[in-house]
């Protein structure tokens, strides 16, 4: 059992024991191992260093390593908890855990709040929403008059910004999402439920005795 672990740590800086990761997340040990297969694919696509760089992330997401995108950057930053500019396996599993169908709503709401709070002030400011909206419009090549953008923002803040201070705080966001549950659609990946069928090669590499870990 020691063999798999020590080889992995040599090649994959920050690699953590699948059993430990499984106990911290909604994933089973086999699912963590399946995620490791995925992680290996993504992290070796540009530089084979056992870490996912921004470029590798973009390649995996858009099938285009050069494609820069405001939202993908935000997601990358949230995955890169230690702010090192790269995502290691532990980061990868813990971040994906939030997207698991069984993950607590609280975590999903919290993640989405931090996603939209681009400068990390603890508030989603009107200017940030405007920036994201403009980015979305640019991405879709849709042109809207600035006036229209302002109307959309007015309407949004009227609904979300309960104390009308021009920004949305954590509790206002919570309240807003409760009233608009479709906003959390992006926070769940049903794929994660079937991850072991998507990456079955782990079956041949696993040296972890799953029965023994179910204590």
């Amino acid at each position: 059992m020691g063999c798999l672990h020590s080889t992995a740590t040599k090649q994959f800086p920050g690699h953590e024991d699948p059993v430990a990761l499984a106990s911290q997340t909604a994933f089973s040990v086999s699912e963590v191992e399946a995620l490791f297969e995925l992680f290996k694919n993504i992290s070796s696509s540009v530089i084979d260093d056992g870490l996912i760089s921004k470029e590798e992330f973009q390649l995996a997401l858009f099938k285009n390593r050069k494609k820069e995108n405001l939202f993908a950057n935000r997601i990358f930053d949230l995955f890169d908890v230690k702010q090192k500019g790269v995502i290691d396996f532990g980061d990868f599993v813990r971040a994906l855990n939030v997207f698991h169908p069984n993950a607590p709503q609280e975590e999903k709401i919290d993640f989405s709040f931090r996603l939209y709070d681009m400068d990390g002030t603890g508030f989603i400011e009107r200017q940030e929403v405007k920036q994201m909206l403009i980015a979305l419009l640019g991405e879709s090549q849709m042109k809207l008059a600035d006036e229209t953008v302002e109307i959309i923002l007015d309407k949004t803040f009227l609904e979300a910004d309960l104390n009308q201070d021009g920004k949305i705080d954590k509790s206002e966001w919570h309240n807003f999402v409760d009233r608009n549950p479709s906003l959390l659609r992006i926070m769940t990946l049903s794929y994660l439920r079937d991850i072991t069928t998507a990456f079955p090669s782990f079956v041949f590499h696993s040296e972890v005795d799953e029965v023994a870990t179910q204590l």
Partner: protein, 196 residues
């Protein structure tokens, strides 16, 4: 009928829609059963209980639901983390486009376009269910459509596949987009690469 089938020149061979119309075929043929739309039933019940005629004209009075900035933002394709799990970009099961036409005109236009394509249409307010009449690779194609208001005189139309084959969905929605004369600004999700 048999001669029509055996016709070797592909152009003149009888097509499935033609077969479905043929008298010989229709004898003892039971067409597939479409599920009744529960929404429509509830409306009737409401009208009875309320005893008013207002419900009969509900559709033209109400406005479409409005979307807020976050609903638009969350439609960015970069939030499609499912792509991480796929080697090639996924074929999306939904698509959107925008229009400056009035909402009820959009609904009529889609209906006008969908019917000749063989869809049956059920509508309630600004939601529609389109059901294809032909059985495709994975059963009948079903599409749910909804019109939202983004801003005064700007609407977002969402088309979502709810049944049937995704590739057929793409063929169908391309027809729905281009064969009508709506002032369509731009398709919001333009990456429609074919998956494995």
């Amino acid at each position: 009928m048999t001669c029509a089938w055996a016709e070797s020149r592909k152009r003149r061979r009888i097509t499935i829609p033609e077969i479905l119309k043929d008298e010989w075929f229709k004898k003892d043929y039971k067409p597939p059963h479409f599920e009744k739309d529960d929404d429509v039933n509830l409306d009737d019940i409401d009208a009875i209980f309320n005893g008013s005629d207002d419900h009969l004209v509900t559709e033209s009075k109400e406005k479409p639901a409005s979307v807020n900035a976050f609903e638009l933002i969350s439609r960015s394709k970069s939030f499609n983390l499912e792509n991480l799990f796929e080697k090639q970009a996924l074929v999306k099961k939904e698509t959107q486009f925008t229009s400056r036409s009035p909402a009820n005109e959009i609904i009529s236009k889609i209906e006008e376009t969908a019917r000749p394509l063989g869809f049956s249409v059920q509508k309630k307010n600004y939601k529609m269910k389109l059901q294809g009449d032909r059985t495709g690779r994975k059963g009948q194609l079903a599409v749910a459509t909804e019109v939202f208001e983004v801003a005064p005189s700007l609407h977002l139309v969402e088309l979502r596949k709810t049944g049937g084959d995704t590739l057929e969905f793409h063929k169908a929605h391309s027809s729905l987009n281009f064969s009508n004369n709506l002032d369509i600004l731009r398709n919001l999700n333009s990456h429609l690469l074919i998956g494995p």
